[in-house]
């Protein structure tokens, strides 16, 4: 069978799956983009607005605040998750018999549904009765101060997602051939040099994958923070997704809310593309 013919015959076979993708992914996405180019509220039929909604975004202080919160949340939480995840993976790689037990305990935060863990953290952070203030012997208003609340949300995300990063890195660590370490030892490399010259370069591709996953999740963060603080106080924890939700589902301004959603999509796509490039670069 010729190659061209094989391709021709493959089309009908792939078509159903392709159709499903188009219907469930492409159509809604394009619809949101289309909506974002229109003025559409509950009061009026849609009218074409061109880039009007995006111009409104540019002049909207609340949008810039939400974008800033989202980026800060993403950078800090992903960085912490990567560092902590790496440290835990390195520890676990040496843990021997304890490893199996550690797996189970570590997976718990990742396994708890986000809304449940956010409610749990709401209580942990409770200024009066929370266990955190009990342990600290203080009366810190974790969720009642804008800056503290954003960091409280970051800590919650780090607690939840670090196990995911750690497990990914642990799997990669175990895939590094022992010979390399023996060779390094023979050459007289100390632990730090071994880590820098052997472990880190071989972990890098997996670290990038972990960072891609975490970044994309963090840029879209909604449920955890929405349950923890609702975006307050003083919009101090309002992320782009929370802002988009409030505009789309509360004020029902579908055009403007869609423009916000498109920005979330664009920021995520840019981040994903940058990492994809880095991954390709690393592979060469």
């Amino acid at each position: 069978m010729s190659r061209a013919r094989a391709h021709r015959e493959a089309w009908p076979l792939v078509a159903p799956a392709g159709l499903v993708l188009v219907v469930v992914a492409a159509v809604p996405m394009l619809y949101v983009v289309w909506l974002s180019l229109h003025d559409r509220t509950v009061f009026r039929p849609p009218t074409f607005a061109g880039l009007g909604n995006y111009a409104r975004l540019a002049a909207d202080a609340r949008f810039w605040n939400a974008l800033g919160n989202t980026l800060y949340f993403t950078v800090v939480s992903v960085a912490l998750e990567l560092l902590l995840g790496l440290a835990i993976a390195l520890l676990l790689a040496r843990a021997g018999r304890l490893r199996a037990a550690a797996y189970g305990v570590m997976l718990l935060p990742w396994a708890v549904p986000t809304v449940v863990s956010a409610r749990m953290w709401e209580w942990i952070y409770n200024a009066e009765l929370g266990v955190l203030n009990y342990l600290a012997g203080a009366r810190i208003n974790w969720l009642g101060d804008p800056l503290l609340a954003l960091h409280a949300a970051i800590a919650m995300d780090v607690w939840k997602a670090t196990p995911f990063v750690a497990l990914l890195l642990l799997a990669a660590l175990q895939g590094i051939p022992r010979d390399l370490y023996r060779a390094a030892a023979v050459d007289g490399a100390g632990p730090w040099t071994t880590f820098r010259r052997v472990t880190l370069p071989l972990l890098l591709p997996v670290m990038l994958v972990a960072v891609v996953f975490r970044t994309i999740d963090a840029l879209r963060v909604f449920d955890a923070i929405y349950v923890l603080t609702g975006g307050g106080p003083a919009n101090g924890t309002e992320t782009l997704s929370i802002y988009a939700y409030k505009i789309l589902f509360q004020t029902l301004d579908f055009g403007y809310g869609s423009a916000l959603a498109v920005v979330v999509l664009a920021v995520t796509a840019v981040a994903a593309a940058a990492y994809a490039r880095a991954l390709r670069g690393g592979a060469e």
């Binding site: 009366r139 208003n141 009642g144 106080p233 509360q250 029902l252």
Partner: protein, 426 residues
């Protein structure tokens, strides 16, 4: 049989119409009303879940059906306010006929009226009713001088206080905000571990209600008119000072109704701002503060009227209803003094009619509700605007900013006014 039930109301209503036609013939031929009970017109009523025995509502509907020949089928809404709003918006915008009469939160009437989703019900409110209704709910259902919904239940902010502690220290319930601050200072100074005043300071709709009470109690308003600007700034500065001066605990910036109610209910606060629902929970057997609490109108500045924020539910008729006449009759019945009295007796919801507060049976069965008449009389709705939901988001973040010290009151008032003007242009 099962299958027929499953096919449900839509098919049945076709049958119902046919039967109705038959029975009309039968009626003309001398058939009595008893035989036509299956031929009744069905009106669907959407409302939030009523807390209590559902039988009371069903009895009311049965009574109405006997008198009018209209059967009411009641369906409940999701419990979260956002979801209720979204449910209505999606269905009404799509021209749904799945419900005919529906209950609306006080803040949605202008929005739904402007969207053209509500039947104009002005004709259903005769002058006698207008005089009977409290002014707050009447203002909340009026948009462009027409009435788009009928007030059903009212709600308003109240001040709960520890009667025992005020008595112990020789103090009276505070009438002014300054008196509240002074009383809180005196009592918390002598009673260790007691908070002065807990209320709803989290960034959400409840903060708007609380802040409006501080602001209006000084003679101001939000959005602020030029004349009211200074008073509004005083109100916001007072709200912030409550936290700075320690009259309210710092974590008031995270409190919603229930956490605040629980703190007060455990005997750990001198004053609480909450809605009437809290009374039952605070005064019931086993409550640590049972018999130790009192309720008063919220304080105000000297020379200013008390101004509780109004809440509650209204009844609207779906503009797409296939049975508008029957639907209007159902709405009018549910909003009648008779139905409101029955529901107040069964569920403890406060009626919006003055006359019912003079009703001896109601005063006997619900003495607490009856004591709130003066407060409902002066309760004021949040800004009546078709853009209220959008405006509220601005109010929530600006007020939260003032409360946490991120925003100066003047900057917040400017931002709120600007947002209000922009929204009204849209």
């Amino acid at each position: 049989m099962r299958r027929a039930e499953w096919v449900g109301p839509r098919v049945r209503s076709g049958v119902v119409h046919a039967l109705a036609a038959l029975c009309l013939g039968a009626l003309l031929a001398g058939c009595g009303p008893r035989e036509v009970s299956t031929g009744h017109e069905v009106v669907v009523f959407r409302h939030p879940k009523l807390f209590g025995d559902p039988a009371a509502l069903e009895r009311l509907f049965a009574e109405f059906e006997r008198e009018s020949g209209i059967r009411v089928r009641s369906e409940t809404l999701p419990s979260a306010s956002d979801e209720q709003h979204l449910f209505y918006a999606i269905n009404l915008q799509a021209g749904s006929r799945e419900f005919d009469v529906f209950a609306l939160d006080v803040i949605w009437v202008a929005e739904f009226a402007r969207a053209g989703w509500l039947v104009d019900l002005t004709a259903l409110v005769p002058d006698a009713d207008r005089e009977d209704l409290f002014p707050g709910p009447l203002a909340a259902v009026t948009w462009n001088r027409r009435i788009y919904a009928l007030p059903w239940f009212v709600d308003a902010g109240l001040l709960y206080y520890r009667k025992d502690l005020l008595d112990k220290h020789g103090l009276a319930p505070p009438a002014t905000w300054q008196a509240l601050v002074d009383a809180a200072r005196v009592v918390t100074g002598r009673e260790p571990g007691l908070y002065g005043f807990v209320w709803q300071g989290k960034q959400y709709e409840g903060l708007v209600c609380n802040a409006l009470e501080f602001v209006r109690g000084q003679g101001g308003d939000l959005p602020a008119s030029d004349a009211a600007r200074d008073a509004s700034l005083r109100g916001l500065a007072f709200m912030r000072a409550l936290v700075i001066d320690g009259v309210a605990p710092p974590f008031v910036t995270t409190l919603t109704e229930e956490p605040a109610r629980v703190i007060f209910g455990q005997g750990r606060a001198l004053f609480l701002r909450n809605w009437p629902y809290a009374w039952q929970l605070l005064a019931r057997d086993g409550s640590p503060v049972q018999g130790k609490i009192g309720v008063a109108a919220l304080p105000h500045a000297p020379g200013q009227p008390a101004a509780a924020t109004l809440g509650g539910w209204q009844l609207g008729v779906n503009v797409h209803s296939a049975r508008p006449a029957a639907a209007a009759r159902v709405a009018a019945f549910l909003a009648s003094a008779r139905a409101q009295k029955a529901l107040a007796l069964a569920y403890g919801y406060a009626p919006p009619r003055r006359s019912l507060y003079r009703d001896p049976a109601l005063a006997r069965a619900q003495p607490f509700l009856a004591s709130l008449r003066e407060i409902f009389e002066t309760a004021r709705p949040r800004p009546v605007s078709p853009h209220y939901v959008a405006l509220s988001q601005v109010l929530q973040s600006e007020l939260s900013g003032v409360l946490t010290g991120e925003r100066a009151p003047a900057a917040a008032v400017r931002a709120i006014d600007r947002a209000h003007r922009e929204l009204e242009r849209r």
